[in-house]
Symmetry: C2
Subunit: 381 residues, 2 copies
Amino acid sequence: MQSMLSRAAQNATTSAIRDLLEHAQRPGMISLAGGLPDPDRFPIDQLAAASERLLRTRGRDVLQYGLTAGNAALRAHIVETTPAADTIDQVVVTTGSQQAQHLIAQVLLDPGDPVIVGDPEYLGALQAFRSREVRLLPAAVDREGIDVDAIEAMIEAGERPKLVYTVPHFHNPSGTTLSNRRRERLLELAARHGFMVVFDDPYRELGEVGSRPAEAAGHPMAVELRSVSKVLAPGLRVGWMIAPRWLCAAVERAKQSADLHTSSLSQAITLGALQSGWYGDHLDDIRAANVAKRYALCHALRDVLGTRLAFDEPAGGMFVWARFTDGTDTTSLLESALGRGVAFVPGAAFAVHSDLRTHLRLSWSTADVASLREAVVRLVG
Amino acid sequence: MQSMLSRAAQNATTSAIRDLLEHAQRPGMISLAGGLPDPDRFPIDQLAAASERLLRTRGRDVLQYGLTAGNAALRAHIVETTPAADTIDQVVVTTGSQQAQHLIAQVLLDPGDPVIVGDPEYLGALQAFRSREVRLLPAAVDREGIDVDAIEAMIEAGERPKLVYTVPHFHNPSGTTLSNRRRERLLELAARHGFMVVFDDPYRELGEVGSRPAEAAGHPMAVELRSVSKVLAPGLRVGWMIAPRWLCAAVERAKQSADLHTSSLSQAITLGALQSGWYGDHLDDIRAANVAKRYALCHALRDVLGTRLAFDEPAGGMFVWARFTDGTDTTSLLESALGRGVAFVPGAAFAVHSDLRTHLRLSWSTADVASLREAVVRLVG
């Protein structure tokens, strides 16, 4: 059980890191810290033309109030393209997938409820769960994703989790992907012990060029969170959840009080993009740029740091998760690295219980290939 | 104190009314039920051109992640044009003003806390407060707005409200405007007894042509909620709160977990509109149409229903709040009126404790002038 002391220490660490990262915006800084997609790959011309056409031809709809559960045509498109949903009442469009996570926590969890997360885990999820004052139970994350043996052991030891949260593809920060075997075992446990599993999946399309991530079938204990933030544009704030009807209905009620509905214009632009002729090529374009940058960063890290840094090269996503083998404390390193003009996120920011002081997360997403090598050189001075 | 029984009865009434109003979408129906702005007055051409130009020239910004508190240039514009805010850290942009209300409730209120609202009151506010499980204390609403004598009497009787909520201009549903005298007394009480006052003000611009609603100075106990939903386009989902720095900081933290930030594109479109040369003319255009429809509805009501219906003609906004003098139950009337092709909202939907079974709210906003008379004829068959 997480003590108040460790929570206070965690908050202090997180806010110290946040303070340091305010410097990441300084001119000349190369930031490997962000989770932002590369703005050079936004389909600006396509979205400019689409938004103008949408407003001129359907302005009365796309500027008006809409349904709380989301644009029915967008939800129908999601049903057509996603085997996990059979009907549109299994889909709720949210103001980014962050909102889905927040509303699910509000609907399913009470303060003190046990929630299993990875350790390390996505900071936004940890913040959302901590603000709900739940009890976080950490499970390790390894090359096959979250450790389902560890989850089973917790249950055998008497824990009764209400929810398990994981990022199944190219996990943030660890970069690993949940194996099918583990996914199935996790859902078996969920059905047997009555907990929901949230698969928060914003990076799924960021694999190799031409790759098609497998779509899972629906499951009564599974919640899929999707987002266009990493593949189209985060500024639209469009995500959605695919979940059993009872949970969609409860989230819809909570969303009505929370913000009535997500921007009608953003939803219409999103639907237009997903149905367009250019979207598939656009995905391959961002995948190609993403792979090139990933190679560049990983190559530079091996080249410059050699055995001082241990990491597995991820198969996609946006992040390298690495560990200094010589005991370098990455929060201290961040202070000096900022002075040399490079930013990253120290591992401690993602820690639930583990000691991740020698870890760090490096994003290749927004820097260009040449800057990535320079960033690595600056990292250790 | 509101008993569980009265709350259950209230929920049953509200959901019965909601079920009935699902029929308001039927073809041929004239709806006086909605709170929607008139889509004929959306500035579609201006927004289409502006959104295309914004995307082409500033796509990298308006499609990217943004600050949780909102676009800094939009907040600076709000500071320049609103005396209640001195610096941008007194402004948080929200996903509609509904979100501001929701986050303020989350930040300031615990279950069981006493909250004073008007009776009748805006249904969305009642739902947001009820979902927070606070204790609602109703104060009457009359021609000068919420009854501040009644609030003072509650305090003298030992109540310690945490928050007072009101719609100061063209109150929904009652149509009345809070007098300056009452506003000042309410804020004096707030300062003396330590509660915040939320002024939810979406209709403020919907007065007479050329009118300029007075802007209040800042006050340490006042929260101003603003929205472009009724004057530009609700589908953008852009509102903002102006409040003391401590409360803005707390709402910003809560918003980070709730949805990270409001659509960057919607915020940029909003700022462009507010700064444009056409916005003032646009406001007068919607005011002129609004006044013409208000006259048409009120005239038809007097002409067709005479003394059967008692109401004060409001000076602006979107709603007539009326009472049948012959004891007609408006929830029953709604059932038969839907059969005759007209929808409205029965008074019971807005009730906290009062018996509002003979009241009804009629919106002139979306029907055209000719249909408004026909709607009144259908109302009573």
